[in-house]
């Protein structure tokens, strides 16, 4: 565990009371509705918010306790704000270099050229912020944070203020970051698609408290948590690209429980790939469905049958080679098929989102 944080705050009728363990690598999503305290936690981690009752340790270094507070500018972190907040009086290049100039030469693990090519900033360097689009500004802001060679990257809904096009433009860069950075990233979001696409680990927040924290796949499919019962309930399957079926424009992804056919992906054979499958897109059959237009059928075992807030629905947790898939089916089907825990079934997957 690399970040241990305990924050307690009472402000008006908002109470924040959390005890977090955030792993030393990968992307941890702070997920919850607005008002759940996500941003406040992130600001406390950075030291932008100074609350009295707090204890924060990073990689064994004390950042804050009852008597000690390490000022923001002395913490080795990078912070990406919701809106890009570039310095309006500096060019993109000088924005990028602002933090870089302020760390000592031997701390500089990230160079300007690295960031420029990672984030595709080549043509933007001489421009002032007001001549950049929202997505471009946010890319510069991310690059600026990276150029301080941070040991921890904090991102506060970096795509919230962007339109769909700009989001689509930023997401691939964020995925590259996730894959190429060896530092922990704490990512605040209220969009589950984003979290499912980027995060490895998740902290689920509600009204200033943690409902749960743990690996993304576990939390998405835990039926005692609200996620598995939401309209967007989904599971994430991690596999590797096995083969491209060119004439059919399909890519086959294999994992311990079988394989999935998805639309053709521009990824190399052997590359890791995450597939997000919505519970409402999974139906089940007792026998292997041979004559069906559904591409993907997986042999699964029922790990759990649980009620859904909708009285006519049930949620099935299905074990597929050690990973979990969720299926939302009708109560009537559940009864007619006489489903029970431990039973082996075929799951038909109608839609796969690649993340």
């Amino acid at each position: 565990m690399s970040i241990q944080a305990k924050f307690h705050l009472e402000r008006g009728d908002f109470t924040l009371d959390v005890d977090l363990q955030i792993p030393g690598k990968g992307v941890t999503a702070l997920f919850g509705r607005s008002g759940s305290g996500k941003t406040t936690i992130l600001r406390c981690l950075a030291g932008l918010e100074r609350i009295e009752d707090a204890r924060l340790q990073f990689n064994g270094d004390l950042w804050q306790d009852a008597t000690f507070f390490l000022p923001v500018h002395q913490r080795p972190l990078g912070y990406v704000f919701q809106e890009a907040s570039l310095f309006p009086h500096l060019t993109a290049k000088n924005n990028l270099l602002y933090g870089f100039k302020r760390i000592s030469a031997r701390e500089r693990r990230v160079q300007l050229d690295d960031v420029v090519s990672l984030l595709g900033l080549e043509t933007l360097l001489t421009r002032y912020p007001d001549a950049l689009s929202g997505g471009q500004r946010q890319r510069v802001a991310i690059g600026r944070a990276l150029l301080t060679s941070p040991q921890l990257l904090l991102m506060d809904e970096p795509m919230a203020s962007l339109d769909v096009t700009s989001k689509g433009e930023i997401l691939p860069y964020l995925e590259r970051l996730r894959d190429e950075l060896s530092i922990p990233v704490v990512y605040v979001s209220h969009a589950i698609e984003e979290v499912a696409r980027l995060a490895d680990h998740m902290v689920l927040l509600e009204a200033g408290r943690t409902l749960a924290q743990g690996p993304l796949q576990t939390l998405l499919t835990r039926t005692d948590l609200p996620l598995a019962h939401s309209e967007q309930a989904s599971a994430v399957i991690e596999g590797t690209v096995a083969v491209h079926h060119e004439p059919d424009h399909l890519t086959e992804v294999t994992f311990a429980g079988g394989s999935l056919l998805i639309s053709r992906q521009q990824r190399a054979i052997g590359a890791p790939l995450r597939a997000r499958i919505l519970a409402r897109d999974v139906s089940v059959a007792l026998a292997r469905p041979d004559a069906s237009s559904v591409l993907n059928s997986l042999q699964v075992r029922i790990a759990e049958i649980s009620d859904d807030p909708h009285p006519g629905h049930m949620i099935l947790s299905l074990d597929v080679g050690g990973q979990t898939l969720l299926a939302r089916i009708s109560l009537r089907s559940c009864r007619q098929l006489a489903l029970e825990k431990g039973q082996t079934l075929w799951a038909m997957v109608k839609g796969v989102a690649v993340t």
Partner: protein
């Protein structure tokens, strides 16, 4: 009409400019942190400070000068304390003039600076802090450049305001040639003595200088515009 200045008038001009430069400089240095605080504090007593700061704008300069005279004079709280410590009191001295001018021009420096700092906001400073900039570093590399129009406006207003100062100075400065006699008072003296030609010469110089100053400033202001920042 040929413009020729008597040595005394030249001296009065010199005192005027010295006064304007010194009081403007000190005001800018002192008001920058104060205006920063005023722009960002959530303290409820803030309105009292705002009212106090604006007071010199509303009061007749003679009222201001009168109280300063009482305060800085030999029997005043400040002047008396100085006397008892073996220094001179400040009435009828150049130092007294500087103090008077500073109070007189205070609102003209505080207003533009406070507005500029409010427009700058705190977000850019938070960003700078996460980029390892210390508080002082943040002030000089972020706040100062973003608020430069505010600084420019404050400097010009204070300078110009001091050039035209009359009431406060006549109350606390007296009219000592070479020490506390400024151009505006010298003009008044010339008019009193029916010496219109000398009054003309000084007045015209002030008009031309003030106009050139403002012209230069508005030109600069345009060039200084920070794109995307309203200040």
């Amino acid at each position: 009409m040929p413009i020729s200045l008597s040595p005394q008038d030249t001296m009065a001009l010199w005192v005027t400019f010295k006064l304007a430069v010194i009081s403007t400089t000190i005001l800018l240095v002192l008001c920058a942190p104060a205006a920063w605080w005023l722009a960002h504090t959530r303290w409820r007593g803030k309105v009292v400070v705002e009212a106090l700061v604006t007071l010199p704008l509303v009061l007749p300069p003679t009222v201001l000068g009168f109280y300063l005279l009482l305060l800085l004079g030999p029997r005043g709280w400040v002047g008396g304390t100085l006397e008892s410590m073996g220094f001179n009191h400040l009435a009828f001295s150049f130092t007294g003039l500087v103090i008077g001018s500073m109070i007189y021009s205070l609102p003209f420096v505080m207003q533009p600076l406070t507005n500029a700092f409010q427009a700058t906001g705190t977000r850019v400073l938070e960003v700078a802090a996460t980029l390892r900039a210390s508080p002082l570093d943040r002030f000089f590399t972020i706040v100062a450049p973003l608020a430069r129009r505010g600084f420019l406006t404050a400097a010009v207003l204070s300078f110009a305001h001091t050039l035209g100062e009359f009431g406060v100075i006549i109350m606390i400065g007296g009219n000592i040639p070479g020490q506390t006699q400024v151009a505006s008072i010298a003009i008044y003296d010339h008019v009193e003595a029916m010496d219109y030609q000398s009054a003309h010469a000084l007045a015209l110089i002030l008009v031309v200088l003030s106009f050139s100053l403002l012209l230069a400033v508005y030109g600069l202001n345009k060039k200084f515009k920070v794109v995307g920042v309203g200040s």
